[in-house]
Amino acid sequence: MRFIPVTCEEQVEMLARVGVTSADDLFSHVPEAARLSRPLALPAPVGEVDLAAHVSALAGRNVDAGRVVSFLGGGCYDHYVPAIVDAVVSKPAFFTAYTPYQPEVSQGTLQAIYEYQSMICQLTGMDVSNASMYDGATAFAEAALMASRVTKRHRVVVSGAVHPEWRETLATYVEAGVLEVTTVPSVAGVSDADAVASAVGDDVAAVMVTSPTFYGTLEDLAGLGVCAHDAGALLVVGTNPILLGVMEPPSVYGADIVVAEGQPLGSPMSFGGPGLGVFACRQQHIRQMPGRVAGRTTDVDGRTGFVLTFSTREQHIRREKATSNICSNHALNALAAGVYLAAVGREGLAGIGEACVAKARYLADALVATGRFAHAFDAPFAHEFTLRYHGDVADMQRSLLGRGFLAGLDLGRFSASDAGLVLFAVTEKRTRPQLDAFVEEVSAL
């Protein structure tokens, strides 16, 4: 049998040693009504050659980014992944290992996490990063819970310009009534500072925003930070790490917790998952931080080594009083992020950020110049921007798909009030000929 190296002869010996005649006998104490008395109704086994053909056929029925020119973003991006990234992530010693609970034989994972944490601290300007969480949305929800623990307050004020799926995830996480969420509608694609100010009170644990926003716009984080801190609340900022080579880190604006979707740093889009939940905070709040964290220390011989630390926050020790129920991290995506950032370095990250911003600007200007689109908002943007389409968005996208373009994200699918708005993302992978060709197709609509 595949993946079972025990031979038939050995199986007989093992059965004899256990004192039964068949493996099925070992299930005889399972109550009859809980036994499955028929074979599983699943397809028959498939050999690897046929399996590969089957799986390839399924993959082939999808239109991937290699076959079209994509302007889709909204939290998942078509950035270039350097070849060295997958070469490292594919090493079995990394991907077939468990959580590094035995540090003596897990130094590879642990040091990679420590290096990842260090890089996230560099990017975000924060003191401490955890070893990562599931994705940006769950990191955002966990940030709300953490802010509540830190401040002992039970309401958060969330900007309506935050990704709707992040807001929905937060709403689900707090559905049990552990936290109240006040959502302040955005105005002109950014947080409404006055509305945020009036929503904030001495019962508020955090003001929660992202910059760039879901619409690609940049927030006035400094103002929002003052607003939060004046009320004794924390400022939680969602960011996009690929931009932090060119953009000020959230720490500059007083962020207390920084979260992000880290997929742009070396993880494939993979239909939206697995992503990478970036989570960073201030040193003073570390005991309220969710998730595992690696630290550097020494062994009995004085050698440098790494361990998971501050474990008493976690569920396996503190059980119902834990800071979160999370029992894993996206270690492999964090590893990819570490390799990615090492590969591009400071200059590469800045160059990639600049390329994204410049190309986005170029495309936005050109699309508006066609007369088919208009800027939806005045706020500055980085590599994503929202335009209003003069016409039927679905028709436009269908037509351009036929020409080989994924023509942005129809924001009407998230909210009726955003009907007619299209969010475009431009990564460093997009070339000028692609952008020009797209604009030409739009003009021809």
């Binding site: 005991r287 474990s311 008493t312 020790i317 503190r318």
Partner: protein
């Protein structure tokens, strides 16, 4: 191991009465069970406290224990030195490793606690 001038409770805290003040810490047994203490959280220790209430937590690398106040009264002082030197709890549990001082509201409560002999008997029973 268990000084005769102290009183003990079943949660392994000790009490030393000094006038109307009760000085409170954890016993040798408790610190030994925990192993190396890495953090003592007394941030919630303030104001009035009733016997049996929690006044903080003590952590080792792989465990955390809640601290329960054996007596009632007003928390008069917290051992701030433990913040930077939590290992004092291991090194000197009955001396510099003390945790809080409580101004007793009902000094008679102390009489209800175990003396050293009773506590040692309690320990051997538990083992």
């Amino acid at each position: 191991m268990y000084p005769n001038d102290l009183k003990y409770d079943r949660e392994h805290e000790w009490v030393r009465v000094d006038g109307d003040l009760a000085i409170i810490g954890i016993s040798h047994f408790a610190q030994d069970q925990l192993g190396e203490v890495v953090y003592v959280d007394l941030s919630s220790a303030s104001g009035t406290i009733a016997a049996g209430d929690s006044f903080g937590e003590v952590e080792s690398v792989k465990s955390v224990s809640e601290l329960f106040c054996p007596v009632s009264g007003e928390i008069a002082e917290v051992n701030a030195a433990l913040e930077d030197a939590p290992e004092t709890v291991n090194e000197d549990p009955y001396g510099d490793g003390w945790m809080i001082k409580v101004k007793l509201s009902d000094p008679a409560e102390v009489d209800g606690l175990m003396d050293a002999a009773a506590y040692e008997a309690f320990l051997s029973e538990e083992a």
